[in-house]
């Protein structure tokens, strides 16, 4: 069996491993720990330069409450949710449809179309900033949650289609063929045969898109300008302006902003890894 379970190795080896893992993890998480410790400190610690030692006082609840009370963090947080979840749903379903069409049907435009979707991934967003902003203003979508959702969904669709197409292509084609011979309609094949089979891929893709959109900063600053629609990433930046050199509050806020993607990943990770494995080799 590989990897050989650690229990079946010599005791020295086990000991070395048991020491190595926590050490590696500690170094790995050092930046995170530093932020976490900072978010616990009272303001006095930061002003007196006690950045590395034990906090003179634990202010966990106070600091986090201050963030909520003195800023609009809650609004930002809900904006992020309102933007992210519909985006994931729209772009993943569009991608399932397009990916199915591109991988199952043979037609002359399939390859050029596929390359169009791939090319969509290479475009650095910054190029599109001015035209997209104009488009949003003209269609009255500027500074609305709907606008953010639509534009995010559009930008993610290219990547999602690429991902789903590779997956569906890896499915055994006989399955679809035999369903066709049985006289099952194309939509039913899509809905009852293909979609259940690619469920791990859908899960993996949803986690990825969720993280991308949740963490997006660029479009958030381009397409919004008011407190009412700002998602959390843009919100953190204005907090940074508001809490000048109150690093403990900024740290607390940025830790909170990272919770949803982490929770999402933890919940879905089995599917996530299964999804990645299927897509990469085939």
């Amino acid at each position: 069996m590989f990897p050989r379970p650690i229990q079946s190795r010599s005791s020295n080896y086990q000991l070395a491993y048991k020491i190595l893992v926590p050490v590696a993890l500690f170094i790995w998480l050092l930046p995170l720990l530093a932020i976490f410790m900072t978010s616990l400190r009272p303001a006095a610690d930061i002003n007196t330069g006690n950045m590395f030692g034990w906090p003179s006082e634990f202010k966990l609840v106070e600091n986090y409450l201050t963030v909520f009370r003195e800023s609009q963090a809650v609004t930002y947080f809900f904006n992020s949710i309102k933007v992210t979840i519909p985006t994931v749903m729209i772009s993943v379903s569009l991608a399932c449809m397009a990916g199915y069409a591109l991988s199952i049907y043979r037609f002359r435009a399939a390859l050029p179309l596929f390359f169009m979707f791939v090319a969509g991934n290479f475009v650095p967003f910054q190029i599109l900033m001015v035209p997209v902003r104009d488009l949003a203003v003209q269609t009255n979508l500027y500074n609305t949650v709907t606008g953010l959702v639509l534009f995010h969904a559009a930008f993610q669709t290219g990547f999602c289609t690429l991902f789903m197409r590779n997956f569906i292509k890896a499915l055994p084609f006989d399955l679809i063929e035999s369903a066709r011979i049985e006289g099952v309609s194309e939509y039913k094949i899509f809905w009852y045969v293909v979609l259940p089979l690619v469920r791990p891929a859908i899960a993996a893709l949803s986690v990825l898109v969720f993280t991308f959109v949740w963490n997006d900063f660029f479009w958030a600053t381009v397409l919004t300008n008011g407190e009412a629609t700002k998602p959390i990433t843009a919100g953190i930046q204005s907090l940074n302006g508001q809490f000048v050199s109150r690093w403990h509050l900024v740290s607390a806020a940025s830790l909170m902003a990272a919770i949803p993607p982490v929770a999402m990943f933890f919940a879905m990770q089995k599917h996530f890894i299964a999804g990645l494995t299927l897509g990469a080799v085939k």
Binding site: W28, M51, A98, F122, A280
Partner: protein, 298 residues
């Protein structure tokens, strides 16, 4: 039969295509056109003035641009290689664990879940020369007495940016390599053991070839990301001091929005995209070679 199939294809594809054409292709064509004009955001009519390749010619003589170009390549090379090595190490370590692997995996993924902008803020704070954690730690350990200007010195600033990038994104490598390790076929490994291969030989000639496709996929994704790195650099140094940490996209953003030379910035973007295309093609070819070695077709 063919008719319904065509209809289905069209119906399934059209929403995605419409969205893509409206939001990406349209704006893209506009920006390509504007790279042939002296377009300025402050003077909207300048879009109608066609100047041919003048923007592009000017870029070829622009030393600052090529300095940023080279700097981007340097950052890309350093970050990609270190991320690959660290990611491989982490994945091998986590893959060996029998207890709490789920938790370990999540911990391994933590940095990736953070938005680059948050990572930028965190590292700017940690590398701050007065109140930063790094200098405080070095001073209290007695390694140095003075405040090291992490974000001000030319080389140290690039180094700090690399550290932030690497911390943020090693997870991408780690998770893909871990997925590869988990899908390793057992037979060749057992055969290698039966034949008396040493551990290093097994790793080098059996495990590693299987991991190569995963490595190259991670490389492709990350090279695209780093080639258009913006958030972390912008937050940590803003391209300063005196433009010495300017990478391609921070420079383009500055040209376009601060100097308001949008046409010029768009021309720069198209030169910059060549870099992304080069790396993608390069890694894609490597990926196909690795797959052929394994005997899996595309």
């Amino acid at each position: 039969m063919i008719d319904t199939k065509q209809k289905t294809t069209l119906l399934l594809l059209s929403p995605a295509i419409i969205v893509l054409v409206m939001v990406i292709l349209g704006p893209l064509i506009f920006s390509l056109y504007s790279s042939f004009t002296p377009f300025k955001l402050t003077r909207p009519d300048s879009i109608n003035q066609f100047i041919g390749f003048r923007n592009y010619v000017r870029i070829f003589g622009d030393e600052d641009f090529w300095a940023a170009f080279v700097r981007t390549i340097v950052v890309l090379t350093i970050a990609l290689n270190l991320e690959m090595l660290l990611g491989l190490g982490l994945a091998l370590l986590v893959n060996r664990a029998t207890m709490a692997q789920k938790t370990l995996r999540t911990i391994m993924m933590f940095p990736m879940m953070f938005s680059p902008i948050l990572v930028g803020f965190q590292f700017r704070f940690m590398f701050n020369d007065n109140i930063g954690v790094v200098n405080n730690a070095l001073q209290s350990l007695g390694i140095t007495q003075e405040a090291i200007p992490w974000l001000v010195d030319k080389y140290l600033a690039i180094f700090s940016i690399c550290v932030a990038e690497i911390w943020n994104s090693t997870s991408v490598f780690a998770i893909l390599i871990l997925a590869g390790l988990m899908s390793l076929p057992k037979d060749p490994l057992e055969a290698a053991e039966v034949d008396g291969c040493t551990k290093w030989q097994t790793f080098r000639h059996v495990t590693l070839p299987y991991l190569m496709p995963f490595l190259y996929i991670a490389m492709t994704i990350r090279s695209l990301d780093i080639a258009r790195a913006y958030d972390i650099v912008q937050i940590m140094t803003g391209g300063g001091p005196a433009q010495r940490t300017e990478l391609l996209w921070t420079m383009i953003a500055r040209t376009g929005y601060v100097d308001a030379k949008m046409g010029m910035a768009n021309a720069m973007s198209y030169v910059a995209i060549l870099l992304s295309i080069f790396f993608t093609v390069f890694f894609f070819r490597k990926l196909n070679q690795a797959r052929h070695q394994l005997g899996v077709g595309l």
